[in-house]
């Protein structure tokens, strides 16, 4: 048995002890003593207080103490809690298209299952599902030929974990939460921080390899001038006239570009714009500090790169089966920026197809660290507190307290024995 409001027990105990003390404190006339010189004593009230060795009215004391104790226990709201395991575990298994190898993900989870800690597995892609039986569920997933949808949602997985944690918390002193995922940018939506805050403990991240960039699988339709400063940075991108899945435009878009995007291609609109000035550009874990031009920030679509101040530098917006990506980063005509590996990785990311499944961008280390959090495992009480229900004995305790209150009136009204 545990108590939802144990402070009520403390208050009740103190009140009961005070009642006992008050019953031991007797105000009465002191024992008479013949003293011929009594006239020299200052006249005062003849009642004195003294502590007796036993209460004067045991029945009244018992009724009052029972009243206080039963009321205190009732207000403390006892709950019947099954026996606790010291630790439980929830595993969030990423079944989206982000992991490079689903077999690897399943193997990692099976390793976690093998240490004997009661574990529940939540498989998630865009939605989360709690596997009723972890071992059988994993076997079933391994046999399944169908993979999850392309986009995963770690926020959805955390919401499911918080719900499952309420059950796990009632049976364990602490609950460990493990995320088995590559943790890509696409899996982190804007609500991730507030959802993450709902879990009162750290998140152990078993980071899987993300599906590798498929720049070998896609081709870029180059439509840039030979002296375009972007050219050297695109040296690692395979280009071909046709068929291509990514089209780079250094000027305004045309209806053909829209048709290309609707058909499943990716159109990257990368104008040469803005005055060149020192700036920092961040995309994933790559940060480029150089003299760059800052064009007007794109207004719509998912942000894929930002300036140091947080202003979007590149966005992409789905259209039909493909997407249009707008990059507001001006490039200097001179300098070695195009030869820097970090900038080349940024350029490859900018020119990659919109389909994240084909080119998932791993979340940066700061985001991963923020997601992981720190501290001890989430206490079971913190997870299950909202789910606790007072035991059905509470109404009976209140009834006993009420009966004692009525009885106290009767007992108090009866003639009291005279003090000695």
């Amino acid at each position: 048995v545990s108590f939802i409001a144990p402070w009520a027990l403390v208050v009740g105990g103190v009140a009961a002890a005070g009642t006992v003390l008050l019953h031991l404190l007797v105000r009465q006339r002191p024992a008479a003593y013949v003293l011929p010189t009594a006239r020299f004593i200052v006249e005062r009230p003849a009642l004195v207080s003294r502590f007796a060795t036993r209460p004067r009215d045991l029945l009244l004391l018992a009724v009052r103490v029972l009243l206080l104790i039963s009321a205190a226990v009732a207000f403390a709201q006892p709950v019947l809690v099954p026996r606790h395991a010291p630790r439980a575990r929830l595993v969030l298994l990423d079944r989206s298209a982000a992991p490079a190898s689903e077999a690897d993900a399943l193997a990692r989870v099976r390793m976690l299952l093998s240490d004997g800690v009661p574990t529940r597995v939540i498989a998630f892609d865009s939605a989360a599902t709690v596997l009723a039986d972890a071992v059988k569920g994993l076997d079933s997933l391994g046999r399944s030929a169908v993979r999850g949808s392309a986009h995963g949602s770690i926020a959805a997985a955390l919401v499911a974990a918080r719900r499952a944690g309420a059950d796990a918390g009632t049976n364990a002193d602490s609950v460990e939460l493990v995320l088995v995922s590559p943790v890509t940018v696409a899996e982190l939506d804007p609500s991730i921080d507030s959802v993450r805050a709902q879990w009162p403990g750290p998140l152990s991240i078993v980071r899987l390899a993300a599906r590798p960039p498929s720049n070998r699988a896609w081709t870029l339709e180059r439509a840039i001038a030979a002296d375009d400063p972007l050219g050297p940075a695109m040296s690692g991108v395979r280009a071909a006239a046709s068929p291509s899945s990514v089209r780079l435009r250094r000027d305004s878009l045309t209806s053909a570009d829209s048709a290309f995007a609707r058909g499943g291609g990716t159109v990257v609109r990368w104008d040469t714009t803005g005055a060149i000035a020192p700036a920092a550009l961040a995309m994933g874990d790559d940060v480029v500090v150089a003299a760059l031009g800052r064009g007007p920030p794109p207004e719509r679509g998912r942000v894929i790169a930002r300036w140091a101040a947080g202003v979007p530098a590149a966005r992409e917006e789905g259209i039909g089966a493909g997407c249009i990506r707008t990059v507001a980063v001006g490039l200097p005509l001179v300098g070695d920026l195009a030869l820097r590996p970090a900038f080349q990785r940024v350029v490859r990311g900018m020119l990659a197809p919109c389909d994240a499944g084909d080119a998932p961008t791993p979340a940066d280390s700061a985001m991963v660290a923020r997601l992981a959090g720190h501290g001890a495992a989430a206490p079971g009480v913190a997870l299950s507190a909202g789910a606790s229900e007072p035991a059905p004995i509470v109404p009976w305790l209140l009834a006993i307290a009420l009966a004692c209150a009525l009885t106290e009136l009767i007992v108090r009204a009866r003639p009291m024995p005279k003090a000695t």
Binding site: R29, P30, A31, A32, Y33, V34, L35, P36, T37, A38, R39, F40, I41, V42, E43, R44, P45, A46, L47, V48, R50
Partner: protein, 288 residues
């Protein structure tokens, strides 16, 4: 005579002398110097003859030598009738159940009576009880035994006034044994009158240690002479009580001594024989 519980006391005070504080006026031959000059064999002085003197007391030889008539004076000794007044009010029955104050008062009375009787003085007893008991001063042998029986037959009770009994006595020496918790002011007035009349009044003020230092726990003190007077004696009132009682004791002693009475305060823990010796030994005026 059966001394009973007073045997040891009587043995202890045997040989104690209790001289009078001043010359006594009695004519009966006793142990105290008398104011009267008689014709006893103990020569005192010569005085010129005056008309009316007994011619037989004229010293004829001195007349022959000096041709002037002188009367031969001698010193007479007389008895000193003594009355002992014992307070038997309810306050003397303290502390219960031993009643040490009453016991000590009886012993002092018997001891002083025995000492006076040994000097040949008539001794009387007055017990200021609810029904007063009076034994007239007598010099016969059985008077001490009669006093013992009278004292043992009384149980202190009620509130018996002392002053009226003292005023009614017609003896030159009066001893009052009391706790002075009754009519002390009236007693003082009566004693002052007796002193003015040439008498001697000795007050033995008995105080119990329990009165000076009552028990420590909280008590409802009840005055045995006024049962309606009930006061709570606890830690808050004890110090004030001790101060007030001590002040009263000092004021009482000062008042009695200022009036010319001999005042002796005695705690009941003091042995009776010692107290009797103190009364008798100070009788020469040192007690003032």
């Amino acid at each position: 005579m059966t001394a009973g519980p007073y045997g040891a006391l009587l043995d202890a005070v045997r040989g104690v002398r209790w001289p009078a504080a001043r010359r006594v006026a009695g004519a009966t031959l006793g142990a105290h110097p008398s104011r009267l000059r008689g014709n006893s064999s103990e020569f005192s002085e010569f005085r010129p003859y005056r008309q009316g003197d007994d011619p037989r007391r004229v010293d004829w030889r001195l007349l022959a030598r000096s041709d002037r008539a002188f009367v031969r004076l001698t010193t007479d000794l007389a008895t000193l009738p003594t009355a002992i007044v014992v307070d038997a009010s309810a306050s003397m029955a303290f502390p219960p159940p031993t009643m040490d104050k009453w016991t000590r008062a009886k012993e002092v009375a018997v001891g002083l009576a025995a000492v006076a009787h040994a000097d040949g003085d008539p001794v009387g007893l007055t017990i200021a009880a609810e029904t007063p008991v009076t034994l007239a001063p007598r010099a016969r042998r059985s008077v001490i035994a009669e006093m013992m029986r009278a004292l043992d037959g009384v149980v202190p009770a009620a509130n018996a006034p002392l002053a009226a009994l003292v005023s009614a006595l017609r003896v030159p020496r009066v001893v009052v044994v009391s706790d002075l918790l009754g009519d002390a002011d009236a007693l003082l007035a009566a004693g002052r009158l007796r002193i003015a009349a040439g008498g001697e009044v000795i007050v033995v003020h008995l105080v119990a240690p329990e009165e000076l230092n009552p028990p420590g726990e909280a008590l409802l003190a009840v005055d045995p002479e006024q049962p309606t007077l009930r006061r709570t004696l606890d830690g808050g009132t004890r110090a004030e009580y001790v101060r007030a009682f001590g002040a009263w004791l000092d004021a009482t002693a000062s008042a009695f001594r200022a009036a010319g009475l001999r005042y002796l305060r005695a705690e009941t823990s003091e042995p009776a024989a010692h107290l009797v010796r103190r009364v008798a030994g100070e009788a020469g005026g040192g007690g003032r």
